[in-house]
Symmetry: C2
Subunit: 1016 residues, 2 copies
């Protein structure tokens, strides 16, 4: 699907560099804003609901409070079951709402839908980590107040959140009453047919056990228990009421009266304050959650009290200072700066901030698909972690990256069970999970996505190589690698029907619009990478950590030859490739299906999954998301540039991006193959996915993977970062829309700042002792605090020529050779016949000639005749001299040689080397692409890219020269500048058109190159 | 999977020709017996529960009363939904139990678990259609009674059932009390993980509206309503109490007292009778069900009363007489007689009887997978109807067959909707349904089985051709055919990647152990047949019924060229074939998977679907049921015999028969390819599937399709019946276990009796004016009541020879030819080298010779050398004379010619015709198999079968003669008798071994043939 240029909708939230806010409240967007203004600390997540509750249209709010990894399990009822399907579904619980603060002014409850709202602003400050709200409100009776509310979920304190609620009496004196509550009555969203939401449950999952007001600790508390998992949850809050002047407001006795509404699971405490006109009173509420997943049940009360006591000691402002310090450090390691594009600047910072807020850092929780911002995907963890979020953490906060991987280690036993359930050895990680067990109730796009095993292995490899944390590999990573590699070795097999290649059947790749296939290319490539890495790891352990290795071997019963089997499977891995199309096949049968009819699919039928039966989707060539294209990013060195271009050009038009995980990958590959405009479009779509609500479901929670993907688009896409064995290699490019951009990466403990401007890239080692990197393939050694600036402008490094019509003209010789053969056979031959031979294969040409003959020849005889013609032609070639060079060519070759610009040849003629030699210019050409070794001829890019590859020059440093339209197309497809020799009507696509080679000079080529501003 | 010989368990029900019964009651088998003793009339179904209720172990009973097509719809909740999946599930309801009759003897309730049971028998009489029970019981107080209970569901009266309950006081005088009830409290079976059962529901589906006792009509009644579908059900009963002597028992007032237990949906009426010792009293209960699906709601009461009044007028015995008359006519048209095997005789009659009982005959109901005998598959109708049950009805009760097809016509609109839901034109019939809408909640083995469209088309074609009911075709069938053909034309496409062949992707074939594939061979073949038939039907209508055709075209908007497109799609249909294996591939990827590891699958892991994750099953070559093998039966003329053998030999070992629909098909194909022993084994397993509870789930209901399949095994398998264009062709064979068997078929209104004994088949036209049939390919004209007896013994019709070592010896000539070539090239050549050339291809042989040479040759040159050797060899052949014939051969050929026995040649030599000619015996051979045209050489059966085919002789009429082990294997695989010339150690498999051709005489061949008793 050709992506339409994305138009930002009118900004709901004005573009600000470091904050996200709104200056008026619009109910229409309420639920989206609840997601967008969510706060979190990796454990507690709070949607941006109002303290006073929601009084708008029913069904346009989700009051959400979540604890990472805190779930209930409900039985799954399958309308038609099967062996081995998950029996229960884990669902991250929406827990007791402790943010509730009602405000009454002389008996009038503050509500946005009553009285009069004079002004209403709120904003999320990403530098301080505070959510602000300011409202000026007039009660129905005319009392006017100003509210200034600050909310924080403490990044430093896992169990703590706080609200600072200031009220100023603007035009009256009187009494305020704050009714602060814990509301345990959770309204669950109902069943939905949208598979991206949960199936919903009918019964409440949290059952009240007890609640009360602890006078000694000043603590309101509620203890609940999950219905099925039987986890205990203790929610608690304490309060401090004070005047802004510092004078403690007298707390009236009735202010402490505790109202309990047991049936409603609602408990509240009221505070009243007498106000002077103009005076400001502040209620600070500290909130804490503790569960029996983390601590012994009997400690929950005491721990809550102790956290609240600590918080009160700090005060809100003290906590806010800590928050700021925490975030300063965060941004110092992660900030991405985009100059010249405030919308995208805001988007990328918002994304990184939300990633921080949603990520579990304790080794037993992880990152849910929607983080802690909503209930989409039920709080489940997916491959999203390793493939999308982990890279961000690996390169900015490696300690968090390690915790995420430790989660996989902690759940390895469950993965072993899952493999057993599927009759396989080793371990199979769940497609979606909270506690490590499989939660996917639709296995074709769930359990079948076994590639998650290889994704986790890839994450481990990247993490270990980038950080150098071999200790993790030895103590945990290796066991994961070995057990998941065992799974693959057992699942796949050396298939006699494929010449003994290692095949993997009956799995689903990343693209969920194709399910249960054999030999998904992405999967097989990733498994190949994993098996090699597992094998290498086994060698490393054996060599360097023999006792750890022995212990591990014993522990998991690793037998002799297992690692060697992995290596063999990797070596003989089957990768489906279509010879005719010259591309990798997504799987064994993908290319034999019909292509999706995009032309007749109106825009409102996307995402397809909500409008077409799965069978309809499965029957077509159509992708939900990057599949093979993703492998081209992850395993870039497995693909030649020409393959990347060809594959991308095939799959890109078939990709709907109905998955939010897709555009960022396309952005990265677009950047790599030199299409910066497309890279920018895809990035644009990714980076503001939730702020502009592109997928129209931000209300259900934010798209964490897309957010992390936008970071990858910056760093791996425009920054061109690739890493192998710990070496960071950059190939940066600046989109024309920007003035500059900047990002930071940490590798092996060293912090690097990368700035890309229009002329140069500047690398600065901010922390560390010295770092070797590569810039466009060239090694660069960085010293601390010594910026290295490297130019970005491309030089003309090579010119790649076609032969016929550009260097010489061989058509006449072919004519002579055919003529001689025809004469020998006594067949009439003419120029007219000769015309029919152009662009025709040798054997077909012979058949054309034989048409005029009564001869009936065997294949052997025909072959002999063709050989004879060739021999004749070669004899004629032998007679070529430099005189046959076309005008201007000798001078051009001389001039290029003088300026150190390389020359390459991209001709379909098998006799090209002989011709160049006879023309006396053989030594002028440093590379000749061998047409016999090509998968596809012109207009495919392959021949020009091959010549450039042989010269060691990137296509962006090349000019190609051609006399035929197919050749011009080939040059353009290769991403080079094209010079055409001939007439406009044929060669209109050329960047420079010259009527003859006589006009062709080095100066014109250099001018063309400079004029195009090849600054990438 | 090689099927183990099936051992009948100890007979639970003694083998009786016309009844099924037990002489003691065994609680262990209670639930199975409830299914087996079920009664029905195609509308009402009653399981064999006791009138007094069940007092055994909990969970081992299902009190079941069903009305065909009477269902409730419950919402389906998908744990992970998708667009287009069915939103509700229809489930055939277990309705109010009206059979309940409690008996109290002087206050003691009759129960099998109290007092003393002196004897207890019950039996189902398949000639009278009555279920009998006789119990002699002694109450705890010592009163002894004899009960004789008869039950009937009236085949003549859709809404009527009756119970005749006689009690004799054996040793006392006193009072009996009958408490007769309507029990509307249905106990539903709970959720099950067995996908073959329903998912179960939590809430009752039948809600009581009202109940009462109608004094005027003497009618106890209850009105209920289904929860979701809002259908009304009226259940009613009336009673007659009398003494056996004929004297009306005085009905005491309190006997009429109506007890109502509204909450329990239970209403009852009591009758008391004073008894003399030795006296017999009979309570007759008439039961009727009416629903608003059939009649206006307000008529239900009145209709019930009127049916009961009619029944009382007839009396139980009058109804029983009608029942007997009905069944006499049924058996006259359907009976199958098996002499010499009482178990199978009982089995086949039981199956036909249950088919009759379960089949809807009103055009709006059909046959549920478990009939009306249980709740497995929730009363849904499947393809089972057209593919398994319909043939039985088509050939025995065509009026019922038409009603079954009318059901499909009645639901065509729903099928159109379903096609639309799948983004396709035309109509797609549901995989499982009650009212015509799709009810499959697991689409990979449900909606994806689009082959049901072609199955229905096939059923229509068979029905119309066998009955000549063109009126059905014109008025209904054509519309079904056209709309379903439209579906195919839209679903499939001319695939450029397959040379423009018509491909059908993303469907599931009959075998549910493989799901969602491209080009399932069964489906594509069946669709091809359907499209051809639809095209022919359009021509027929255009020609013969132009106004009907025009009306239909208008009605469904049929456009010009549509029918032609169907024809083109049929002509260009892609049928996957594996050249290397020489077999049809089940689908595009089936053969590239791993074969299932049967060796390591213990017996208790079957059926696989209950013990392995679907992904594990999908990844392997393993079949749940006949798939391609089924196509070989249905579309036999699309396959050569050699294909059938080869395909069967490939797929049979991979088939688990985990589906009860499978063994009967394997039985038919085994019979066709001449393996009568296997055909018998598979038949045995099918015909007593429920009586012996082979699949261990007869308790959930009887396997209707398997029952009908057992009829097909008899008629199509052992009887060898195939039908094309209305012509019945028989190729009968008698299993050696039987003395004879007999069956009846009706075609075009004529009733034919077919008897197969050991020596002859006897065809008798019982009704009709004259019928042309074929027996073993020969036309036979039958006249009414004039039996035609045709012998079954096979004559030796042909002898098929190998050439080398049997007729002559050419090894020496090859040696000479190679030797000459080697000499010319100057390469040493020896006998040792020559030995290495045997059984090696021409080009490989050349390479062996060239090993000893320094020559490095191009392919063209090597080809030229091989041609040269051939030329040399042919020159040597030219010099052959009759003198080179091996001893005895000339005499044998003479003798065979004199006796009219044909000769064929099955030699791998391309020069065979030349050799025979030079040997002077060219004219002795009527057929020479061309080895160049073979898919596979020896030991495959193809070459011998090809020779037999050319001779027009079935393999059972041939002897093959061979000198090599591979050749003997080929002969045996072809199903011929094999004569070996040579040594025992090599040719042990031969039926006759002779040391040299000198021993080979026509007499020995004829003796071998006769001695083997080739009576098939």
């Amino acid at each position: 699907m050709k992506m339409k240029p994305y138009e930002h909708p009118p900004a709901l939230y004005p573009y600000r560099e470091w904050s996200l806010g709104e200056d008026t409240y619009e109910e229409e967007y309420n639920q989206r804003s609840e997601s967008v203004f969510a706060l979190g600390n990796g454990y507690i997540g709070m949607r941006g609901n109002f303290e006073e509750g929601y009084h708008g249209t029913a069904g346009t709010t989700v009051a959400g409070n979540y604890l990472n990894g805190f779930y209930d399990s409900e039985p799954i009822v399958y309308p038609e079951g099967a062996y081995g399907l998950p029996a229960v579904n884990q669902s991250m619980l929406n827990v007791t709402d402790a943010r509730v603060i009602g405000l009454e002014i002389e008996g009038h409850a503050f509500r946005l839908d009553s009285g009069k709202v004079h002004s209403c602003r709120r904003w999320l400050d990403m530098q301080t980590g505070l959510l602000h709200r300011e409202v000026e409100w007039e009660s129905p009776a005319g009392q006017r107040v100003k509210l200034a509310i600050r909310r924080m979920v403490c990044l430093r304190h896992k169990h703590l959140a706080a609200i600072d609620y200031a009220v100023t009496a603007l035009n009256f004196a009187g009494t305020l009453q704050f009714v602060s509550a814990l509301d345990g009555e959770i309204r669950r969203s109902g069943a939905s047919s949208d598979p991206r939401l949960g199936s919903g449950g009918a019964e409440p999952s949290l059952l009240l056990e007890d609640s009360g007001y602890d006078e000694a600790a000043g603590m309101l508390w509620m203890r609940q228990r999950t219905r099925h998992t039987r986890f205990a949850l203790l929610t608690a809050a304490s309060h401090r009421l004070q005047a802004a002047s510092g004078r403690e407001t007298e707390q009236q006795l009735e202010g402490r009266e505790v109202e309990r509404q047991l049936e409603g699971q609602h408990i509240s405490v009221s505070h009243a304050a007498g106000m002077q006109c103009g005076e400001t009173v502040i209620l600070t509420k500290y909130i804490t959650y503790h569960t029996s997943k983390d601590y012994p049940e009997e400690e929950l009360r005491e721990r809550s009290a102790s956290v609240l006591e600590m918080a009160e000691g700090c005060g809100f402002n003290g906590l806010a200072d800590e928050q700021r310090t925490y975030l300063d450090r965060f941004w110092a390691h992660t900030d991405v700066e985009i100059k010249g594009d405030p919308a995208l600047q805001q988007g990328i910072r918002f994304n990184l901030f939300q990633l921080l807020q949603s990520t579990g850092r304790d080794g037993v929780t992880n990152i849910a698909a929607k983080g802690l911002t909503g209930e989409g995907y039920e709080g489940h963890y997916f491959w999203d972690t390793e493939m999308y979020m982990l890279p961000f953490f690996t390169y900015t906060q490696p300690e968090t990256a390690r915790k995420l991987l430790e989660f996989r280690y902690a759940t390895l036993d469950k993965a072993r069970e899952q493999a057993g359930l599927l009759s396989q050895k080793g371990a199979l990680y769940p497609w979606r999970t909270i506690d490590g067990s499989e939660n996917s109730a639709y296995f074709p796009a769930g359990t079948a996505q076994a590639h998650i095993n290889a994704d986790i292995a890839y994450g481990i490899k990247q993490y270990v190589q980038a950080t150098g944390d071999v200790e993790f590999l030895v103590s945990r990573g290796a066991e994961i690698l070995f057990e998941t590699s065992r799974f693959w070795a057992d699942l796949g097999y050396f298939n006699p029907a494929r010449g003994g290649a290692f095949c993997i059947n009956g799995i689903t790749g990343p693209d969920e619009y194709t399910a249960i296939v054999n030999n998904n290319a992405y999967t097989n490539l990733m498994v190949q990478d994993q098996l090699n890495y597992a094998y290498e790891t086994s060698l490393l352990l054996e060599r360097e950590y023999p006792s750890d290795y022995e212990r591990l071997r014993q522990g998991i019963g690793l037998t002799d030859g297992e690692a060697e089997l992995w290596k063999e499977a990797a070596d003989r891995m089957f990768i489906p490739f279509d010879e005719e199309l010259g591309i990798y096949a997504q799987d064994d049968t993908f290319l034999s299906k019909q292509k999706w009819d995009f032309e007749h699919t109106p825009a409102d039928k996307y995402p397809l999954l909500l409008h077409f039966h799965p069978l309809v989707i499965y029957r077509h060539q159509v992708l939900k998301q990057a599949d093979l294209v993703m492998a081209m990013f992850l395993l870039g060195d497995k693909f030649r540039l020409v393959d990347k271009i060809r594959n991308y050009q095939y799959y890109e038009p078939l990709t709907t991006h109905d998955s939010s995980l897709s555009p960022c990958i396309h952005s990265i590959i677009s950047a790599e193959i030199g299409d910066l405009a497309a890279a920018y479009r895809y990035f644009d779509r990714t980076v503001r996915m939730d702020l502009d609500d592109i997928n129209r479901n931000a209300k259900d929670g934010l798209h964490m993977a897309a957010m992390a993907g936008s970071w990858m688009s910056i760093v791996n896409g425009f920054g061109g970062l690739r890493q192998t064995h710990g070496m960071l290699c950059f190939d940066p490019a600046l989109p024309e829309q920007w003035q500059s951009f900047r990002f930071k990466v940490t590798a092996r403990g060293q912090l690097l700042d990368v700035w890309i401007g229009s002329e140069a890239a500047v690398y600065t080692l901010l922390e560390g002792t010295g770092l070797q990197i590569r810039h466009r393939g060239q090694p660069v050694l960085l010293h601390p605090q010594q910026p290295v600036s490297l130019p970005l402008a491309r030089q003309l490094e090579a010119v790649i020529f076609d032969l016929d019509g550009v260097i010489t003209d061989t058509a006449g010789l072919h004519y002579q050779a055919w003529q001689a053969l025809a004469g020998e056979l006594g067949i009439p031959f003419s120029r007219a016949v000769n015309e029919r031979l152009k662009g025709v294969s040798r054997m077909d040409a012979l058949d054309v000639i034989l048409e005029g003959s009564p001869l009936r020849l065997t294949d052997t005889e025909r072959l002999a005749l063709a050989d004879k013609k060739d021999a004749g032609y070669r004899q004629l070639l032998e007679q070529l001299t430099p005189a046959e060079l076309l005008p201007g060519i000798p001078e051009l070759l001389d001039s290029l040689a003088q300026q150190g610009i390389a020359c390459g040849l991209a001709s379909a003629s098998l006799n090209a080397p002989l011709i160049l030699q006879r023309l006396g210019i053989g030594r002028r050409f440093q590379a000749i692409a061998d047409p016999a070794a090509l998968q596809k001829g012109k207009p495919d890019a392959e021949i020009f890219l091959t010549a450039a590859e042989l010269l060691g020059v990137p296509p962006q440093g090349c000019i190609g020269i051609e006399a035929a339209a197919a050749g011009i197309a080939s040059i353009k497809a290769a991403g080079m500048l094209a010079v055409g020799i001939g007439r406009r009507e044929q060669l209109a696509a050329a960047d420079l058109l010259l009527p003859s080679t006589a006009e062709l000079t080095a100066e014109k080529l250099l001018e063309l190159f400079g004029g195009k501003g090849r600054r990438t």
